[in-house]
């Protein structure tokens, strides 16, 4: 594939449109861009990377006394950006674009990537809209992701490092190889061989296989569970059968007992005329039992009340004596009072007699009938003494003795209502006993109406009926219980049957699993085989390149690539060289990278930014001698004028260069840069701001920042 044109618009130092034409009638595959620092070499290099992949990354570095952080370079924003800084700062609607035209096996290729601000004065990439359009051959224009995929089918992103090679990366590779810190070129080799796709395929297949295995495992587990459930269900069927049989047996027993009960009831119906008597007897039995129950309490009441019955009887007679004692006590008290009165009267009368003076105590006059009064008092005294004498002579019991006797008799005295209480209790008892006797007579009378046989039959049938009713009840309970057991067993069986209907193992899954396993093995074997072949090819190619570029072929004879793609320079004895020169290591690095590119079969231009920065003059020359040929892939270098002198390089490789350009500012031009003039008859103005070609009259402003891309005539 060959580049035809490149159009830059507002990118890097290139304000406005800059077309670069790569078409040339010269033989040779070499292209060179020469420039001083900060003129735009790397910007063209990055413009092509951006056009192809939509992003540009750079390593952290220090240049011109400034520290640049590594990472993705934004289109717009603060610090280092891709867009032309004048356009970014001054254009109201910022826009940047790169168009790349090429010719390949599939026909012409046109890639257009544009970044337009979505707002006025966009300040970050979020405010920029990216448009990508790709047209290959006669195919319709593709946009966005499809367009990107189309680009990467020609310029594989994973192989970017083999066609976009910058001097800094080369130095890094070289340094790593020198310090032996690099753990081989495994990643690079994988990329070259397309192994990442295979490895991704391997990972994808492994993931798919894990999914299938998981499904198989799940199915196997489910199948095991189903199998167990089927076994359980079969067992449960047997259990259910037994339970049904048991329930049937219980039902049969119930029917038998119910039939017997019906038979007994029919027999009892035969004695239907006796049924009322039997019912009456039952009623009487109940009544008798009830009365007997009551009689217990009534009888106890009667006994309780009868405890004082003897007192009632005893008091019939005892009460007379008791009252008599009470009378005696009353009289005794009176008698004692009378005696006391008599004693007191005697004392008073005797005192009066002794103290009598015949003078009235009130009027103090001599009493007229003194003797008569004395006689009267003596008579009264005599009478009182007689009373007292009679009192002493009489034999009466004392009040104290009478009180004791009254107390003793009072112990025998019943309460006033004792008799009524006793009679009431006795009456109640008698009434109840009479009722009982009446009922018992009625019972006996009724009972006599039943013949002994009938009675015996009825009683027997009644007892039988009772037993059978109890049996029916029990059998019903057993049958219900057995039915419940059957229902439960049926439910359990249904549950197990549902559970046993799980998935069965799909043989297809096993087949797919086996196929994937084989594929994985095949991929791994393929990767291993490819890697082995690649190692051999890379080693062979790298050795060829190294031998052509190396300036001491007698000392360093080749490059060895081991199985892990660690590289070493071999000495003349075919052994790893000790402490090879830095130039040799740089050349080895270039050789290996080129070998990898070669092995990869990439048919794209190679862009080499500042390729000679770490090479000596000899190796720089050898490098161009090797890469620039009269035909083959385009090989573009973006060189600092210190690396390669323009005139010298152009002169030396004229036959192998298709095109050469310088990138500069107007003030860099010491001679006329009109293509048809190129005169060195140039004058400066007095202020050093303008130069004028005396041959053609062309003037250029030395203060202008407009970058010039000038084709070097070959």
């Amino acid at each position: 594939m060959k580049l035809q044109h490149l159009f830059l618009y507002n990118i890097g130092p290139f304000r406005g449109q800059y077309p670069i034409n790569f078409q040339s009638e010269n033989k040779g595959n070499g292209y060179a861009f020469f420039a001083e620092n900060n003129r735009g070499k790397t910007s063209i290099y990055n413009a092509m990377r951006w056009c192809l992949f939509g992003e540009v990354s750079e390593r952290a570095k220090t240049a011109d006394g400034k520290r640049y952080e590594g990472g993705r370079i934004p289109i717009v924003g603060e610090g280092r950006i891709l867009m032309n800084s004048f356009a970014y700062e001054n254009d109201k609607n910022q826009e940047m674009s790169v168009v790349l035209l090429a010719e390949g096996a599939k026909g012409s290729i046109q890639i257009t990537r544009t970044a337009k601000s979505t707002t006025t004065l966009a300040r970050h990439d979020g405010e920029m809209a990216i448009q990508l359009d790709v047209k290959i051959g006669s195919n319709p224009i593709k946009h966005g992701r499809e367009a990107q995929e189309a680009i990467e089918s020609i310029f594989p992103k994973e192989l970017e490092r083999f066609f976009f090679i910058d001097g800094e990366a080369l130095e890094e590779y070289t340094e790593m190889m020198r310090s032996n810190a690099m753990k081989g070129l495994k990643e690079e080799v994988n990329a070259v061989l397309g192994i990442p796709a295979l490895i991704r395929g391997d990972a994808d297949l492994t993931r798919i296989r894990q999914g299938i295995k998981s499904k198989i495992d799940t199915t196997v587990k489910a199948e095991k569970a189903s199998s167990k459930a089927r076994d359980d269900a079969n067992r449960q069927k047997r259990v259910l059968g037994e339970k049904i049989k048991f329930a049937d047996k219980k039902q049969s027993e119930l029917k038998t007992v119910m039939a017997k009960l019906e038979s007994t009831k029919e027999l009892m119906m035969a004695h239907e005329e006796l049924a009322p008597i039997v019912e009456q007897l039952k009623t009487l039995e109940g009544q008798i039992a009830f009365i007997k129950e009551n009689l217990i309490d009534i009888s106890k009441d009667k006994v309780q009340e009868a405890k004082v019955a003897w007192k009632v009887l005893l008091w019939k007679k005892g009460s007379t004596q008791y009252n008599d004692y009470l009378n005696q006590q009353e009289h005794a008290v009176k008698r004692e009072w009378d005696a006391k009165q008599a004693t007191d009267s005697i004392k008073q009368l005797e005192k009066d007699a002794n103290e009598m003076t015949g003078i009235c105590v009130e009027c103090h006059q001599p009493l007229p009938d003194l003797e008569k009064f004395k006689q009267k008092k003596e008579k009264e005294l005599s009478e009182q003494k007689e009373i007292l004498k009679q009192h002493h002579l009489a034999k009466y019991e004392s009040t104290d003795d009478l009180a004791i006797k009254i107390g003793d008799l009072a112990k025998l005295k019943p309460q006033s209502d004792s008799k009524e209480r006793i009679l009431r209790a006795d009456k109640k008892w008698k009434k109840l006993v009479n009722n009982l006797e009446t009922l018992q007579e009625q019972y006996t009378s009724l009972d006599a109406k039943l013949t002994e046989d009938a009675k015996s039959n009825l009683v027997e049938l009644g007892e039988k009926k009772g037993r059978q009713e109890a049996m029916v009840s029990r059998r019903e309970g057993e049958w219900r219980s057995a039915n419940t057991e059957v229902n439960l067993a049926e439910l359990e069986l249904k549950r197990l049957e549902d559970k046993s209907g799980g998935p069965t193992i799909d043989k297809k899954d096993h087949k797919i699993d086996n196929i994937i396993a084989n594929l994985i093995v095949t991929i791994n074997n393929t990767v291993s085989s490819y890697r082995g072949k690649a190692r051999s090819q890379v080693e062979k190619r790298a050795t060829e390149v190294f031998q052509r570029l190396n300036n001491a072929p007698e000392v360093y004879t080749g490059v060895r690539v081991d199985k892990d793609f660690k590289t070493e320079i071999l000495n003349s004895k075919g052994r790893p060289a000790r402490n090879p020169s830095s130039g040799a290591v740089s050349i080895m690095t270039i050789s290996v990278i080129d070998a990898l590119r070669h092995v990869s079969g990439l048919d794209v231009p190679v862009f080499l930014d500042t390729p000679g920065r770490s090479l000596d003059e000899h190796h720089k020359s050898k490098l161009l001698e090797y890469f620039w040929q009269t035909e083959g892939q385009q090989f573009l270098i973006f060189a600092h004028s210190g690396e390669y002198a323009v005139d010298e390089t152009v002169e030396k490789f004229k036959g192998k260069l298709a095109k050469a350009y310088t990138i500069s500012l107007p003030r860099d031009q010491k001679t006329c840069f009109q293509a048809e003039c190129r005169s060195d008859d140039v004058e400066h103005d007095a202020y050093g701001k303008k130069r004028t070609c005396n041959a053609c009259g062309h003037e250029w402003d030395l203060t202008s920042e407009e970058t010039l891309i000038l084709e070097v005539p070959l």
Partner: protein, 122 residues
């Protein structure tokens, strides 16, 4: 006879009367029978009260069955029987026993005639 010469004696009753009085003691298994007394002592006390209330005594013939002396204290009845005891010279227990014997006979007759014991109150 003086107060101090009153003899207490023991109480007793003829065997048939004792048997009869025993039949008047309550039976927890048979409440429909006329058995109004909680013990034979109570039945004896009732019989004595009946004889005394009717002022009738009866000497028992043949052997006698004793009545629990601790539960029947003759002194309790001294006051109502003092005069009679002092006049007759009998022991207090002997007099009580004669009244009780009579009472038992009367009760037995009443029972035999279909009456109840407590009808004596009517």
């Amino acid at each position: 006879m003086t107060e101090q010469e009153i003899k207490k004696g023991s109480v007793g009753i003829s065997k048939p009367s004792h048997l009869f009085l025993s039949s008047l003691v309550q039976d927890n298994e048979n409440h429909s029978e006329d058995r109004p007394f909680v013990s034979i002592v109570e039945a004896f006390r009732f019989a004595f009260a009946l004889g005394y209330s009717e002022n009738k005594k009866l000497k028992s013939s043949g052997g006698k069955e004793g009545v629990a002396p601790r539960q029947f204290v003759v002194d309790d009845y001294l006051e109502i029987l003092r005069d009679e005891v002092m006049l007759s010279g009998q022991s207090l227990g002997g007099l009580i026993s004669e009244y009780a014997e009579y009472g038992s006979q009367e009760m037995s007759k009443k029972k035999s005639n279909g009456g109840s014991i407590l009808d004596f109150f009517l």
